[in-house]
Symmetry: C2
Subunit: 203 residues, 2 copies
């Protein structure tokens, strides 16, 4: 009977198990995080506990774009400075945060809530496409930028949207795919290189 | 005025900031973790909150070894199957968990609570050395195994303990230092290689 089996019922072990289920945290990191919190002032644990306990109550989905927000509509959808004629289509609300950090895009968003993946049971009906269509029916939208991952699921979803929305007077574009800035041709995979050729731009 | 400054007052951002202060979690991981919790059922956030809120109340320090425990003495110090004549000296309570997982060591522990590091203001007086000495005064301890990191601080602390405890009839040993199993001589640094030579064993 080793120490592990006895240890596994303690508050420490329950917390390690919980942390190790979060994305990007393995068992070792979960242990380090738990002991760091134990070694720190109890205020850290209490603050974290308070924020986690109130999270789902504080954060709702924006009724227009589907992003996470404390107010409805969210501050982007209700910002008169944002260009409402351009909608950036994203897979998840988290992508909005990453694109906003780039400070490049000045339009508004639409969260699909996933990508079409038949093998994982995600069909178009699971995505927020009806809501997107009703946004298009206002007639004010001029461009949809598909900011979907350059993967099989992203390509499938892009193709599906293109077909489904072909009767609306809206231009559909997609983020450029190719070599990352600072990348190296030698270490670029064949598919990415082929996309870079097809998507080459005049200089 | 970008989106970030406006976003930074929300519950999401407060949680991202808290997570990014934990060891091994950068800003991107903190974002991914926060959105994962938001996307999951509220039960995950509530369970995490509950465990964190109760952590410091549930976990104390063992009055004998200084390790984290729910009962005092801890289950190792109070286990009659553990060899009380061998004490493994460790820097922090977390090291106990890692050594226990190896299921190799059958003695008991003593947590120093740090390593001597004059530049960081850690002197011998900050470590749990008096308590170690009173454990030695029982006269039952035969061996102290120093399981300290093979670093300057670990070496300094080992040397200090060796000098301070030289009048006690106890054997002081230290964990072997050398090339890690599966390692490669070509990629081993000079200091490690030199230690491997000095600590070479007969086969």
């Amino acid at each position: 009977m080793g120490g592990i089996s006895l240890m596994s019922h303690t508050a420490i072990d329950r917390l390690v198990t919980l942390f190790s289920k979060l994305p990007g945290i393995g068992k070792k990191s979960a242990g380090r995080i738990t002991y760091h919190i134990l070694d720190s002032s109890p205020a850290l644990a209490q603050t974290l506990a308070k924020e986690l306990a109130g999270l789902h109550q504080a954060i709702k989905r924006c009724s227009i774009c589907g992003g996470f927000t404390e107010t409805d509509p969210c501050f982007i959808c209700s910002d008169s400075d944002r260009d409402k004629t351009v909608i950036c289509i994203i897979e998840s609300a988290q992508d909005m945060r990453i694109i906003e950090e780039g400070r490049e895009f000045k339009g508004v968003y639409h969260v699909l809530g996933g990508l079409i993946a038949p093998l994982e049971g995600v069909s178009p009906a699971n995505l927020s496409i009806d809501k997107l269509i009703s946004r298009l029916q206002s007639g004010k939208v001029k461009e949809l930028i598909l900011a979907l991952n350059p993967t099989v699921e992203g390509d499938t979803t892009a193709l599906y949207l293109q077909k489904t929305l072909k009767d609306y007077p809206v231009e559909i574009t997609r983020l450029a795919s190719g070599m990352p800035v600072g990348g190296n041709i030698e270490y670029t995979d064949k598919l990415t290189l082929s996309r870079s050729f097809r998507g080459r731009v005049k200089i």
